[in-house]
């Protein structure tokens, strides 16, 4: 049993990190904003954490992680002010642009070895660190539901104009959630950097944020725990498929990719509210007359 745990420890760690990332995307989705900046925020957090640890190794890990969360959150504010005025796909594209600018910045910054990135980061992240961070994030998001702010966010998501005429300061709320998402992504970046020993710009590109979005949506964005479920599912799935594929003798790369794409397509077409809506769907089907 302990062996099984050790073998899959790394998998659990990535489930946790990906869950935090998926939740970071949810932070803005829950008020109706599609922000794809979080790979950039993650990079900022990862590099901040890595730089502090490498340059000032005596700083306690807690403070390193706090910095990893804080720096992106601070950057989110001046980013959000002009960008949150944009609607729908324009906001998405602007935030993709931001993410790419951050990545390119690190690719070209010699202080952090450009495209090679930083290596030999001591492994300060334990499985329990990730679990704790995830638990705190889920708890906070869960308590948001039913609160005055939570209601305001749902209102903004449904109809931003109507929300404004009810006295809701929509810009402030959207900005706050952008910063919250940035903090989560930065925290995840810091945790991952101290788990995989390295940070490199190409781990924080468009593909990464797309992964986060997909995990959030597949899990379901109607409930605060949906993205975490999606992250768990889509992190474990390729590993499970790899086992299955190996036994079937199929070339791992293309087959996994194909199945990922097919599953994603199936979920988005047939289960639009994500995996967390499965129980409700079953209940509805069960109630229908045969």
């Amino acid at each position: 049993m302990a062996d099984l745990f050790l073998a899959y420890q790394s998998l659990f760690a990535f489930v946790g990190i990906n869950a935090l990332l998926a939740l970071s995307v949810y932070a803005t989705l829950c008020c109706g904003q599609l922000s794809l900046a979080n790979a950039g925020f993650m990079a900022l957090g990862a590099y901040t954490g890595a730089l502090i640890t490498l340059r000032a190794p005596s700083v306690p890990f807690l403070f390193v992680l706090a910095a990893a969360a804080l720096v992106p959150a601070l950057v989110a504010v001046p980013l959000g002010l002009p960008v949150l005025r944009l609607r729908g796909v324009f906001l998405a594209i602007a935030t993709v642009g931001f993410g790419e600018v951050v990545r390119l910045f690190f690719v070209n910054w010699q202080f952090t070895n450009g495209a090679m990135g930083l290596v030999a980061i001591p492994q300060r992240t334990q499985l329990w660190t990730i679990a704790l961070a995830l638990a705190v994030a889920l708890f906070a998001l869960g308590r948001l539901h039913g609160s005055r702010t939570g209601y305001a966010l749902e209102a903004i998501r449904e109809d931003e104009t109507a929300a404004r005429t009810m006295g809701i300061y929509t810009t402030g709320h959207k900005l706050a959630m952008l910063a919250a998402g940035a903090a989560l992504a930065g925290l995840a970046g810091g945790l991952e950097a101290h788990f995989t020993f390295m940070v490199a710009p190409n781990g924080y590109g468009f593909g990464r944020v797309v992964e986060m979005l997909v995990q959030a949506v597949v899990g379901g964005t109607a409930a605060f725990y949906g993205p975490a479920v999606g992250a768990a599912f889509l992190t474990v799935l390729p590993e499970a498929l790899r086992e299955a594929g190996a036994r079937l003798g199929l070339a791992p790369g293309p087959f996994r990719l194909l199945l990922n794409g097919a599953i994603l397509l199936a979920v988005i077409l047939y289960l639009p509210n994500g995996l967390v809506s499965l129980p409700a769907t079953f209940r509805r089907r069960a109630r229908r007359p045969a």
């Binding site: 796909v89 602007a94 600018v101 593909g207 988005i268 639009p272």
Partner: protein, 292 residues
């Protein structure tokens, strides 16, 4: 300087050709088609296979690959976009659905052609150089520019002068109104996808010839540049995409010449950002980009 202008026009023509299809679909469906870059990639591979394995000449392989691109586009629309029509979250779900298809397309390419970079065999295109004033251009480059411009002109004519083109524009304006006026919306959308993907595929083949490098992930870099182009040109505007494509090509070439190659990609995103902050609808965009 003249050389750089030439290089900029050459690069820009490919960007423009890619972006035109991208923006066409957005104009019609209000959805960003993230599989466009995968069609770009697949068409390049189709052309490669026809030339390298079937030993067909390029002037047969190119149209065939373009046609293949268009057909893939129709399949794409049918599988990934049509079922989502009418859903309230169709922007995000369309994005993800197209992403899923892009992944599938990439997997297919990986399986058939492997992960490494492939090249067109030697002699696919005559290796000739032309002198224009003080600058030189390869015959290939001139042909690429010529073909791009020709295709974009054809598209503009099609959209402007034919019945189907008018129907596409009507659907882009308002699907409901178009339907009331008797337009077969499904067919118009399918045709728009055919055109979009055919041109995207053409861009892919030309790109593959221009840089002599085709791999399953070749579309990713172009995809993001394409975003900058359609934002600059204005979402949904074909002439905007054309002008913005050339503009970005020129800006990129000049930036590399003055500031070095590490700034090459940054300039696209700087442009993207500035446009979105200062004038979100770009040069010719119609869509209201800001909240009411």
């Amino acid at each position: 300087m003249g050389q750089q202008v030439l290089n900029g026009i050459f690069l820009g023509s490919i960007y423009a050709l890619f972006a035109v299809g991208y923006t066409l679909v957005f104009g019609v469906l209000d959805i960003l088609n993230l599989a466009h870059q995968a069609v770009f990639m697949l068409a390049a591979f189709v052309a490669l296979a026809l030339v390298a394995d079937a030993h067909l000449p390029l002037w047969v392989a190119l149209p065939a690959a373009v046609l293949a691109g268009g057909l893939i586009g129709i399949v794409l629309e049918r599988i990934a976009f049509r079922p989502l029509r009418g859903r309230s979250d169709s922007n995000i779900s369309g994005l993800i659905s197209s992403l899923a298809m892009a992944t599938v397309f990439e997997a297919i390419a990986l399986e058939i052609f492997g992960p490494d970079t492939s090249r067109f065999p030697q002699g696919t295109f005559p290796d000739r150089v032309v002198r224009l004033g003080g600058a030189t251009a390869s015959l290939l480059q001139l042909c690429i520019v010529g073909i791009s411009v020709l295709l974009m002109a054809l598209l503009t004519l099609l959209l402007g002068r034919t019945r189907l083109g008018r129907q596409i524009r009507a659907v882009a304006e308002s699907p409901r109104a178009a339907r009331i006026l008797g337009v077969n919306v499904d067919r118009a959308i399918a045709f728009a996808f055919f055109l979009s993907s055919a041109l995207g595929g053409a861009a892919g083949v030309l790109f593959g010839l221009a840089f002599n490098s085709i791999s399953p992930d070749v579309g990713r870099g172009v995809e993001l540049k394409g975003l900058a182009v359609i934002i600059l040109g204005g979402m949904g505007s074909v002439p905007g995409a054309v002008m913005a494509g050339f503009a970005l090509g020129l800006v990129e070439v000049f930036t590399v010449a003055r500031l070095g190659s590490s700034f090459r990609d940054v300039v696209s995103f700087a442009v993207l950002f500035l446009v979105l902050i200062a004038r979100p609808r770009g040069l010719f965009g119609r869509a209201a980009a800001r909240e009411a």
